[in-house]
Symmetry: C2
Subunit: 482 residues, 2 copies
């Protein structure tokens, strides 16, 4: 029992050492695990379930806007990666290379997919002939490998992660541009409705954009430590890849033209953002829609009353199981206290405690994971009560996160204040648009421009850049970044 | 237009040259495509959709019997693959090896997942401590790489394919044994209900079993050319891997024991079986549940009546779209004949033709892809008519395939007859159980034992082996095999 007790323990405090707390909570709750391959992680049932819900919901919304799922090879010939110069610069330092098959040396090295642009666009160049073939809106659900040499962290910076890769091709720039909002709206809905995470939508600076893109837009998350984590994104690639891969079509006017392309992604990193945002010193707090088990029933009995309590608990389980993902914890060898602890660290949204008192009053005691609040609930409309409770938990998690984001978003035009605030949240400040100022600020304060928010609290355009004093072109969000 | 016309053409005949027909039909219908990486294929929307339906249906049934999805790393350290001697013999000749990351040489080669036993069981050995942790029933949906050096064929023998990998661990041999039927029943239901494919369930011989298993059971498909294709399978691994990876638990009696393990899989190969079985000289025939488009509407008009026919077609589309995956082919630049050809090669189950006559009679003309039969259908219960038609198409596809299987399953105890029948179907014959006879028969006739059927037409046990004349222990299915 001793080694088992350890596995559900949490000694670090989130507010004291969030890094150590994070490591303890994701592993000791059995959410994920380390693997024998350094930097690559294992998704245990609870984390994979959460990702699967996100995946299916996103996929449903993609299909509604005409996106089709496809699948492309895991391996990419080296010469393909080399075709777009910015792209190769961005990715080749992190590529895992396949050089041998069986006992044979391959004639060309193959990259294990770090992203699929190049292998896909080679096909696009053969598939797209005329304006009738456009738009193409394809998506892959895949795993990608990027051999991070910095300290890998499960979910947040893994050498392998799971994601969607959306790849579109349009006849015109204008059409390509209209896709961004459609996709980012879908991502925001997923973050809001499933992960209970707010985000800040904005444009990345040229320094921070995707390797090979003309413009990148992201949704950024503010974490409880005041650092920012990049969430889903959408990139306008213009005709960069079209030219590198010769993707041309004959337009209505008979002219051969290059297509305009976009790419977009959401990844398992969101699960890391979820853990960091909602978790507490008791463990994970999983938003109800992502919880593999939503309601856990814990019977409390002594030897005399056991049969009665267990029978009642089983009837409650039967009542709930078709409406909620319900688990009856009938393990005889553990105490109720042990069970509470286990389900708390695992972040199960609602616990039902059932003892003799509940049996006698035809009720249960509900305990919310997010607030710990206990309430009695009558059996005769228990399903309605629980349905409301789960919605309420979700809403509360989102509200708390939003309140934190709002109370940690600062606005200033003063460099001294930016320096003081650096690392405590997001600082919105005027920026002239020069990479030089961006780099100097990062060097001096440790904060970078996470994005140029689309709905900044103050529009600084026309005022003075916080660093050089020249005319500001943007309101920029400055923050330390994961 | 010329290059486009070519893409939906089919010149080979299935009954004359099934290999060439297969290659033409899967590529020219835009079902799949070759990729720039030799032996690795692209799943275009129609094939990925079909796989996704299979995946989701299988996953739902797995969950009902308590299987949880997880995800394990794509890479496996070389030393892990080496731990189980049969396993390494079976897989290492086909492993793709990662040797470098970025510019650095790795200290140990990493195998790109050919199957996940070894990386998973390393985790199992840490997760399993007591009988309370058992059974473990995990599954991954993943892509695997096996570098086939024989001629790779899309879907049938690809260097990368998609599959489920089920991995279970039980406390006792008896418990482990009960899983086989549960899983094979699920697979048979998927084959029957979704792919419209019959199969022959049976035990593999020791020569043909999974590398590292004690016993393998498979479902085999008979293809129209008389050859057999292996479908889903379930393997009893006994304690082989448990011993190699030291997966022990403390049992109720306080003793440390090794677990008993099983693995099982269904793969994208089934899509190849589906194409081969149901397709005809007009192209693919996709079973309705797997079709991304189930009903295609083709309006037929001249310039005078265009508006009226189009409006009516649109109203039919609106009527159907929430009940069926419906597509209105309103492309002005193609003739109805062109469109028929395109949707036929793509295997769309039902075509609705709508011309002036249909407008006037408030009806549509339905054309089934499987039989080509045309019928009028009134608008006022069109959804019911189509629902029945789709069920009927599915039933017909399955019946035809079953009839073929039955009429090409032969029973003999005579070696001369086995020789004559070799390659024309399945021959059930008495076998003594010796690997020697198995090998000699294969050498002399080209047929191997695909499996030992659980419901053979004749039980030959106790009679004479068809080769050596000694006592037969089994009725064996002999066939040429893909």
């Amino acid at each position: 029992m001793e080694s088992e007790q350890k596995k559900f323990m949490l000694t670090a405090k989130k507010e004291e050492n969030i890094t150590e707390w994070y490591t303890q909570v994701i592993v000791n709750s059995e959410f994920v695990d380390y693997s024998a391959v350094s930097g690559m992680m294992v998704y245990r049932p609870d984390s994979y379930f959460a990702w699967d819900v996100i995946k299916e919901a996103t996929d449903r919304m993609f299909k509604e806007v005409g996106v089709d799922d496809v699948y492309f090879p895991l391996f990419i010939p080296e010469r393909f990666l080399m075709k777009e110069s910015e792209h190769v610069k961005g990715f080749s330092p992190e590529v895992a290379w396949v050089t041998h098959a069986g006992k044979s040396k391959l004639s060309e090295r193959l990259a294990v997919r770090p992203t699929s642009e190049t292998i896909m666009y080679d096909s696009f160049s053969r598939w797209i002939r005329s304006w009738r073939d456009l738009p193409i809106k394809f998506n892959i659900w895949a795993s990608v490998v990027r051999w991070e040499f910095k300290h890998p962290t499960p979910l947040l910076r893994s050498r392998e992660f799971l994601w969607n890769e959306g790849h579109s091709a349009f006849a015109t720039h204008e059409e390509a541009e209209t896709e961004r909002e459609v996709i980012l709206n879908i991502y925001e809905k997923i973050l809001h409705d499933y992960l209970a995470l707010p985000g800040i939508r904005g444009k990345k600076t040229d320094t921070e954009k995707f390797a090979g893109a003309l413009a990148s837009y992201s949704i950024e998350h503010l974490m409880p430590d005041g650092w920012v984590l990049q969430g889903p994104d959408h990139h306008s690639d213009g005709q960069n890849f079209a030219k590198a891969f010769d993707i041309k079509f004959i337009d209505r006017d008979g002219q051969k033209k290059y297509v305009f392309q976009n790419t977009y992604a959401i990844s398992t990193r969101e699960l890391g953002a979820m853990v960091l945002t909602h978790g507490d010193n008791k463990g994970l707090v999983i938003p109800p829609k992502l919880a593999r088990i939503q309601v856990v029933i814990v019977p409390i009995y002594n030897d005399v009353k056991k049969e009665e309590v267990m029978n009642y608990s089983r009837s409650v389980y039967e009542l709930l199981k078709s409406n909620f993902r319900t688990y009856l914890d009938d393990r005889d060898e553990y105490s109720p206290g042990w069970k509470y602890n286990e389900w708390e660290i695992k972040g199960i949204p609602v616990r039902l405690e059932i003892g003799q008192r509940e049996v006698d009053s035809k009720s249960v005691t509900t305990v919310r994971r997010d607030t710990g609040k206990k309430e009695g609930a009558k059996l005769d409309h228990l399903s309605e009560t629980l349905a409301e409770l789960l919605v309420d938990i979700h809403t509360n998690l989102y509200s708390k996160a939003l309140k934190f984001l709002e109370s940690h978003t600062f606005v200033t035009a003063d460099y001294g204040e930016l320096k003081r605030l650096a690392g405590t949240g997001i600082v919105q400040a005027p920026w002239c648009g020069s990479e030089d100022c961006e780099a100097k600020i990062k060097e001096e304060t440790g904060v970078k421009i996470t994005n140029l928010p689309l709905d900044a609290q103050v529009n600084f355009a026309g005022q003075k850049c916080i660093y050089c004093g020249k005319e500001a072109k943007h309101t920029a969000n400055f923050a330390r970044s994961y």
